[in-house]
Symmetry: C2
Subunit: 236 residues, 2 copies
């Protein structure tokens, strides 16, 4: 299935013009011709079944034949706030896998012990978009610009709030604490873990400490484990 | 914690000589000196608490002070047989993450639709060893040389046998089928999925078809999803 990500399309149109970049890809790389079927996703749940009306390398015209809204809509809302890793490839790997498995929103948080103090969201978003197309999702996860831990904690969130940390202390298991088909925000710390002050601040702000198993996981593995557990618990 | 992987050590020794490579790493890179504490794992469950008796760059001598056997022994046996990916980095990511999360044995299977017909096990094993040291495991997962799908199916396995495929047909969920604290073998196919003949052959050989959720997962993501599910189901 040749999937195109076209966030500016809407369900009312009967015709659509591919961007110059997408047109070039369609005609020169995929070698699509008039009459060929293509599928578009708008990132907001809409899947559009279309066909090529005019295969032009700079301005391909598509005829929209059918629209499905709410395609494979997820039954819960998962927001993961994770410290970007020193080796940014690890964060890229996490974003690709989380998109395949299922995630709604990702925030990048710069923590006290973070070795990486910034991250280029534009490039990371491209990784997500590729994964959306490859795994045939009609919803495009949101990726937020990096902010500091304390700035992030100021943002309101309706739903259950969890923090995964490696320090001592009482921790819940998601299997026992997660309310199914709910909204969740999970904090994942940097390579050196959250600082005691950050753990305190989160607990004061209504976050519950959780365990992600007995193994010592890297940041990106922990983030994906959290993603996996939430999706799995909402499946059974 | 400075962890060394020393598969040739055994629990009866009171002294141990690091290899030339490990000695050089200990003295020149880690800059360890006499009296420094180090930890060794033998890959078979043994964790050795030692200290440097003679910090020599080619032949460091360690004094073994304590031994723990069966360190964090797993409560189930998981063998994943997966088709190595065209881009071998993806298989490397899987091996690293599976080692962190928990796996006992990995086999590489060349399937009908595999784009990659061979894989260098020596290099892949180094990835596993690094992950063993980084995630502080005393057990080193076994990695087997690549064989064809039909050759692999001839190998006996005591335990539950599962196959994850994307074709139509009845599929079980591990949540309902897995016997806890058991032995499991799970087959994960190449990018183009298993062929109908391969699926048939597996079902004839006692494998049960399973689903890994509704999402369309890449080979390495599916392999890791299987790994997550088995470990998670044996935790709760």
């Amino acid at each position: 299935m040749q999937l195109f990500y076209t966030p500016d399309i809407n369900p009312t149109v009967s015709q659509y013009f591919l961007s110059e970049e997408e047109s070039k890809h369609a005609v020169r790389v995929l070698r699509l011709v008039n009459g060929d079927a293509v599928t578009l996703v708008d990132g907001k749940g809409g899947m559009y079944h279309a066909e090529i009306k005019d295969a032009h390398p700079k301005r391909t015209i598509l005829q929209i034949n059918a629209v499905v809204t709410g395609f494979n809509k997820r039954n819960h809302y998962l927001h993961i706030a994770v410290a970007p890793t020193k080796n940014i490839e690890r964060t890229e790997w996490f974003l690709e896998k989380a998109t395949e498995i299922g995630v709604d929103e990702v925030s990048l948080i710069i923590c006290q012990r973070s070795e990486r103090k910034e991250a280029k969201v534009e490039r990371l978003n491209k990784i997500i978009t590729s994964a959306v197309k490859q795994s045939i999702k009609a919803y495009h996860p949101i990726l937020n610009e990096a902010v500091t831990f304390s700035q992030f904690l100021k943002q309101p969130f309706e739903g259950q709030k969890f923090m995964a940390h490696c320090a001592d202390g009482e921790k819940l298991a998601l299997a026992q604490s997660l309310d199914k088909q709910g909204r969740y925000l999970i904090l994942i710390g940097p390579e050196g873990d959250f600082s005691p002050a950050e753990i305190d601040m989160a607990l004061q702000n209504g976050f519950k400490a959780i365990t992600l198993g007995e193994s010592r996981l890297r940041t990106e593995t922990a983030a994906l484990e959290a993603c996996f557990e939430v999706n799995f618990l909402n499946r059974i």
